[in-house]
Symmetry: D5
Subunit: 165 residues, 10 copies
């Protein structure tokens, strides 16, 4: 089999590991990275995460949403199984949707120091209304800071049709 060699993957403790522990309390330290093999190029990686659930901080009832994470890597890239475990760790965590999305983005910035990143949550309704927060970040002092402003300015001009069914 051609392609990525096992030796370049030795830092990954979770991918393919059968003894995975699932923590359901907020656990940012579970996140792991691997090296970007194309650091001389700007490119996007997007994660579609439709199985996100957390708790309402006041009523403690479960909330459900889909999280879309998109970033341009610098030297480090988040490994997807560790990202899955990280998102699972919000399962018994209580926060407003607006806060969760900002926290996820903050943790991924700390982990990878990406050139650019954005996080968009789309939640199911409570009381007939659903909430969809969106935040982004471009590394300060670079063209990616302008990119973040540009994308904020043009964000979501075609809101998807929502009829609660």
């Amino acid at each position: 089999m051609t392609g990525r060699k096992d030796e370049s993957l030795t830092d990954l403790s979770l991918l393919g590991n059968q003894d995975t522990k699932y923590s359901f309390d907020y656990t940012p330290e579970v996140l792991e990275t691997f090296d970007n093999q194309h650091p001389n190029r700007d490119y996007y990686v997007k994660f579609n995460c439709p199985e996100f659930t957390t708790l309402c901080p006041k009523t403690h009832q479960p909330d459900f949403g889909t999280v879309y994470i998109s970033y341009i890597p610098d030297e480090k890239m988040v490994e997807s199984k560790s990202l899955k475990l990280y998102l699972f760790s919000f399962r018994n965590h209580g926060d407003f949707h607006e806060d969760s999305m900002n926290i996820i983005m903050n943790d991924l910035i700390d982990l990878m120091n990406p050139r650019y990143i954005e996080v968009w949550g789309k939640f199911t309704p409570r009381g007939g209304i659903s909430i969809d927060p969106y935040c982004n970040y471009g590394r300060p002092g670079t063209k990616f800071e302008k990119m973040a402003e540009h994308r904020m300015m043009n964000h979501d001009m075609y809101p998807e049709k929502i009829d609660n069914r």
Copy 2:
């Protein structure tokens, strides 16, 4: 449970309160706010509100629509249950769709003093025609004023397909 603490939520009188009163006359004073925990960052919060209904000012028959509200908070953020009650209070209120959307935006500007906000209503047809008003606002004298102009200029260039079925 990690996350937002109850003490930061004591100003919220409606969320999780079983004695909620439902007013069906226009009641902007029902709106409540909580503090933005990420004020150093521009980010969007969108509310999808498909259960909006009001009355025709002339014939008094009910109208139905979906309202999409999207804003960039400054220091205050509208609490979603109070927003629900506010929107319910249009139930027996009579106004043209164009007026309702402007009034909702005005009330939310008064409440939160947001950096940016937009409100888009999409109504069901009367006489074979449906009406979809859209208004927006950027805080005067800031980059958000330009953002509002930019988004107005590029608004809805792909009108959704409507066949009244």
Copy 3:
């Protein structure tokens, strides 16, 4: 203009009447009928009513749904504008969804004495769950009674996909 003559429509007080009163309290007496011109044939008439709203009997908050009514007329047929006014009259009425659908069907049976009728309500979610009641009726002692049983036995074997968005 060929077609139905005005003289056959003189019993209709609401269709085309500009002085329509909109009652928002349960008012079954607003319903009107006209004569079936094809009584020697069994055929269906379906009403699609996506603008139905009522109140929760316990919390008094508004609920929203779509009501599908389908019937085989005998001698009388319900006039659609009076049906609209009748459905509007649930606007400030409090009942469980299961009850509303049965009440609508009972009222239409009383009004028209149809050969067959069915009523299906599909509501927006509360607490992440939505409720869809379905009832039907065939005139006792006729083949339509068997028809009702047959349709109940084969009802909704392909529930529509619901994701609350």
Copy 4:
């Protein structure tokens, strides 16, 4: 070119005729037929007609709908251009939707004496409600009479989702 020969088509006065007259008053006599070349076999022909428009008999405003016609031919088959002209002739005709569908079916029975036929109209909403009549017919005393009953009993058990958008 292989296939149907021109000589078998000489009865068709409308297909490919550039001097077509468009009558907008009800004109059943415009309908034409050609011979069924497979009379020993039961098979269906369906016409999808999304450009049907007529007038309200009371308010005289235009109504719009899609008509689906499906039949099993016996010896005669309706030619599709003549069907188009026939449907156009309802353009300034005033009738309830329930009547129009029955009239169309009656005229096609008179024209073709089919083994089986059904007509389903689906109209755009007026006052938030849309009406969809359905009628059918099987030749009396044949298995097609039972077929009509069977299809009436199982008609439309999955009403399409209608949200007036």
Copy 5:
């Protein structure tokens, strides 16, 4: 009932009027306006009109389409029932689709003197091809003139999927 008062609506002769006359010959004078209550703000009003029908100027056969009209009002706003009657008046009018869309826009500019307006028609196929004209206008010498150029430059870069079914 709170909201628009009847006294501000006295100029509207058609809304809620049961004696509506339906002209099926091109009648631009039926259009009526009411006052914009938010003239200090740029905002959009969109009309979705899926029941537009006209005649081919050469063959005189009916054509069918959906018209999307979107504008930023100045002092006057078109009342929607009068718009409905105006569009109905194309019913027996013969013009190419390209001409109809320009004529509608010209008439609405004459009526309202809007800051910005655009009209997009999407028609059903003839001979396997369908035609969708789009025109727009920004008041000369204002920023809206540039807006019109900008929107023309970026128009319809994602043509909707059309398969004639």
Copy 6:
């Protein structure tokens, strides 16, 4: 307000109660009922529950699915808020999907003794494959037992398109 009276609702301890406790361990005793007001009629009630989550019994990782529950009540009907709490109680419960669906149906039979009931779960994929169990029940010795057999025989003959996106 007309409709169901509060006195008929006094047995409901959860609906509208702000002190709701959310248990995330399997808790069938949270289920509550109210009286069927139309016991002389067979009719369906369907619950759409797209926010169901449980744990894999072997790997303990979360699973996600939508549960559709449909039943014909006898004397008792399950209250929807208690159903929500019951479904939430699977959150930290470990079972195969096939088992969960059977357990839910068993618990609802014990609670309500319905005439007929069916439960269909549709889960998100693991390893590229998703699992959708379906079970049903008709009261033994009644026509509903035959109904269950009939519906099992005709179940899901049009599997929905699944592409894991």
Copy 7:
């Protein structure tokens, strides 16, 4: 590679053959078969053929449609590349849609002597109307003859939505 051996495929002259000739005149003799390896079992094979085109027998203009062919094999099965060539051979053939579908079914019955077969054509509109013929066949004197009657009786009770866009 496990699976079907080349020796069992020696009768197939077209599959994988680079010297394929494309005839655009009706050529039923191009059809080829291979042996059914599961003749003791009834099972379906369906062909989806969205690239069917033929000519109008009167105006000679091209028509376009999708053909769905579904059958239960007996001893012979039609090879799909030969089926493609056969369908291509209608390209310059002139016939009514009703005739083409019957001819295709007749040719496949002659070729394979199947237990059961059905052919459904769905064509693009001409003059605003589209035509969808459907025919089927069960081997006379077997249970498949009844199957054909049963499927004819239950054919297409949910006509797909057609709006010519």
Copy 8:
């Protein structure tokens, strides 16, 4: 955690095992079962498998499809990870689509001895035509044999729309 206990799962060698071997040659012996805990009830389990790929037996080029498997268990149930590995083992296997579906069903009958089972493959097009085989089985001499005949007779009467895009 409540639910299935580990001790009842000890026969499963693959679920949660990190040393999984992926065979890409036909390997039916990889299939494993666990015990049905509800053997006194008829219920369905469906597997949606959109990642199926095999090779053409004559040209050896890859083919792609989605396989839907649905069965009523008796005492044994197939474990889903072993099913995944089994389906992967067709990756370098060459067979006609009609054969693959029959083979999969035969292997699952041998493994589980189910009361009822059906397998439906839907493949991507080659030469503009796609092939969808369907087979089923009911245990001989039981009501499930009749069930298989009944479902064969009513199979796929609404073929999904295929346009190769």
Copy 9:
């Protein structure tokens, strides 16, 4: 009938002409124009052409696609029936998809000398891959040249989902 007068249409030899000849060899000279009645305004005309078919230049097998043509007229506009005949003339023409789209655009530039034009073809798959070429043109030395560059730079940033079904 108001609207375009016959005298302005005398140059059109094909529209409404029953003696239309259908050439299936590349015939650009069939194209006809009429005068633009709104030359002082920039506006778009789009043709949706889902019935395009041509031959592979190497294997000579038929290919199928949809062609979207959009342009801003100057003085001349292409008449749609002549466009239909022109596109039909590719029926027996052999070229790569990339070449056909460029040829169509070149011919329409020669015919109309438009201010701006673009042509987008979307074809059905061969060998599991489909090809979609897009070309555009703005009149050199005008703002439309920049428009073409701008639209090329922003072309198709949201490729439609293609799954070959």
Copy 10:
């Protein structure tokens, strides 16, 4: 037959060749080109490739995705059958999705030296999360380099809805 002549196609060894070898190990040398006949014009060619499959470099299990490739040619254009064989050669190749997309783009740049190119992969989920990498390239020192930056800055601002079903 008019169009591309065979002599201009003599460099193509694969198109229409029945002796095609299918390599399932990474084989970039299989790629072939033909000459761009419109080199004086910038235009796009897009390939939709929904049948892409590769292996996980760590667990060796198969992954599945759709690859969208879009480019502006200079002198050379990639022939689509050779592209198909090239993509098939990833079948037994192990790499992260992020690497595969970059490798495909690098190989096509080496092959064609295009003015602009972009590659977007959209994969099915593993562990509930799916990954979609996107990379692009504009020839350095030309306007296409800016084009690449512009498209990166505006990439995917409307992520498609993903629910893993």
